[in-house]
Amino acid sequence: MATYIQIDPTQKLDPFKSVKKLPLEEYFTSGHRTCQGCESALVMKMMAKAAGPRSIILGSTGCMYVANTTYYSTSWVVPWMHTQLGSSGSAALGTSAALKVLMRKGKIKNEPINVIAFCGDGGGADMGVGAISATLTHAEYNSLILMYDNESYANTDIQLSGSTPWGANTTFSSPGKVKRIMHRRWKKNMAGMMAAGHPECKYVATICMSYGLHGMNSIRKALAIGGPTFIHSLDPCPKGWDYDPYLSHEMGELAVNSGVWPLYEVENGLLRLTGRTEQIAAGKIRRVPVRDYLLKQGRFAHFTNDDIDYFQSKIDDMWEKWLIPGVIPFRRDVEADTPPSS
């Protein structure tokens, strides 16, 4: 079948071989006002470094909008535009479409320009999921949507989002004497949803910037492959997760090594587990108990042993009972769900 969709050339973005080979130039620099230990700010920095100078970055409302652009300061060295909370996908689509037209008409130099739209988990997994989904169906427009997921509406003081894990204490789900577990929903599987449901999307990946080189190379691959792409980044948040800021890096490692946050990529429909997750799946390293991950975070301080066991059982399910372990939660058998009484 002849293809009628013209995908524009993209930048040649080879993977970085090692940390020592990274360029020194920064495109997200000082001047931001994020919290101490903010992993999402690190994601912005790494994302901009991975993309390089010929990039346009769009950001929907959230921490990485407000904290990076207030009070006459901004840390963005590349062009940056705020978009409304649920509109990262639409903004990416519109920007990419306009660049295409301007280049076709000769109004601007014909060159590949990276269009990256980022959103938080509130803007991406909640309000903006429709816009992201729509953008991922438009094969002819090159863009990357990066969802930085700190698992709450951190910008407005830690309300739960569709990406908040089961049981977490947020300002919308404070545990109390009457009910201990106020949040009973499991985190949305955004990357799996986007990968499974968007045949025009050539690249979906999960990352965690505790593994920075892996994350940056995933971003470069997403930008180089062409068409709309999606990356879901898990970002530990000292304020929302309630831990000492110096633990941010370790918290990301624990999320991956406990199996709570699998790293993988789906490239042209081909699934590949990556990084430490690949080693876990191959049996080369054992998963760390989720207890080690949960108990370092104040948001789970109200958990009983039963709660921790239940959480562990859900993660075990992910790896042992999902048809595509860690990625797609289809199952062969229906089993009763028995959460602890709250």
Binding site: L85, S161, G162, T171, F172, S174, V178, K179
Partner: protein, 385 residues
């Protein structure tokens, strides 16, 4: 009917307006809130989320304001008293569903803690620039009721009133707070439950075969039945007849839309709440609402110290607009002065109602802070000449 004591935190408290609003909702019988975080309103539902396990009820975090504004209507048709809370950008998203609530006559309360706009604007700073949006934001002809508190105590008292109006008239009620009122902390007295009057749902007592979902008993407000109770009813945003079924003829449209308006217009005297300090033939009457009324109070006192004859009219009910009272005052006063935290919204209504019988002076302010009393005084002095 008296309030359910489970929801009433009787006592003397030190609360901010957002928390007082939540307590008002609980006292009024609200047992369902659909919330989406947005500054400066989030504290209302944060408190609701932490209070409902003890009171009984449901709080759901929604994925956006579109969802929140329709989820609460589902809850109402399921039998609950319900509300949602937002601020400017979220209020904009809710507009279609506010029209839906007006059309389907769903009793519910939308709390808007106003902040500077347009767009993201000033999330943590005040404005009163959603006043026209509250009235006209959704498409089509419809009426709503809007109340405007100026203190945490009123956030409690008037939230109950908002629910009562919504139930009495089966209309969405806009509760138009602002950032300063929402975040200021003052003494709030919550009376015992047996001293709080709440209006129950206008639930039908008719037999299933006699019930018409949108038939009225002469007062323009239909009785309600809830989903699952055995009554046949059909709720739709399409133009509908007494049976609730779509009937898209000009005659049905005319009858329905006029009734939606008239049920409010006909009760305007009962709905209108004003705080008035007009004596006899003032030179100037200052018309204000919300936080601006507290700044205006100081300006009025300063003007009186200078010997000017200045009256005060505070709009507690902003919509329907109390044009009858403005018209009466216009006959005896030289001018109206209308300070508000926008570049001129309710002042247009004052000017329209005055109908040239008294001059109207705006004291606009784009938001981000409150007026300085001196700025209002300056206009009072000018208007009194």
């Amino acid at each position: 009917m008296k309030a359910d004591p489970r929801g009433v935190l009787t006592g003397t408290h030190f609360l901010d307006g957002d928390h007082a609003c939540c307590e008002g909702a609980l006292a009024a019988g609200a047992r369902f809130a659909a919330g989406y975080p947005i500054t400066p309103s989030t504290e209302v539902v944060e408190r609701f989320a932490s209070r409902v396990p003890k009171v009984g009820g449901t709080f759901i975090q929604m994925e956006d304001e579109l969802a929140a504004s329709i989820t609460l209507q589902g809850a109402v048709w399921g039998g609950a008293k319900a509300f949602t809370v937002t601020s400017g950008p979220g209020f904009s998203l809710m507009m279609e569903h506010i029209g839906y609530a007006a059309m389907t006559e769903t009793p519910c309360v939308f709390v808007d803690v106003q902040r500077g706009g347009p767009s993201t604007g000033l999330p943590t700073l005040p404005a009163q620039a959603d006043m026209m949006q509250a009235r006209w934001g959704s498409h089509g002809d419809y009426e709503i009721i809007a109340l405007c508190p100026n203190s945490p105590q009123e956030c409690f008292d008037l939230t109950i009133q908002a629910f009562n109006f919504s139930e009495e008239f089966r209309v969405p009620v806009m509760f138009m707070m602002d950032e300063v009122v929402g975040h200021m902390t003052e003494k709030v007295i919550i009376p015992p439950a047996d001293q709080i009057e709440v209006v129950p749902r206008r639930h039908t007592r008719k037999a299933v075969e006699d019930y018409l979902p949108y038939g009225t008993n002469g007062d323009g407000v239909p009785e309600m039945a809830h989903a699952g109770e055995g009554y046949k009813f059909h709720v739709t945003g399409l133009t509908h007849d007494e049976h609730g079924y779509p009937n898209m003829t000009p005659a049905t449209q005319d009858k329905l839309v006029r009734r939606l308006q008239n049920k409010i217009h006909d009760a305007i005297d009962r709905i209108t709440l004003l705080e008035e300090e007009c004596f006899d033939s003032e030179d100037v009457v200052v018309v204000s609402y919300g936080i601006t009324s507290r700044v205006a109070q100081r300006a009025i006192e300063m003007a009186r110290e200078r010997g000017l004859k200045v009256g005060k009219l505070r709009l507690i009910t902003c919509w329907p607009f109390p044009e009858k009272r403005i018209r009466e005052l216009a006959a005896t006063t030289k001018a109206f002065v209308v300070p508000e935290l926008n570049l001129g919204q309710m002042v247009r209504e004052v000017e329209r109602a005055a109908n040239g019988k008294a001059r109207t002076f705006a004291v606009p302010h784009a938001g981000g802070s409150v007026h300085r009393p001196e700025d209002i005084l300056k206009v009072i002095v000018e208007a009194s000449r």
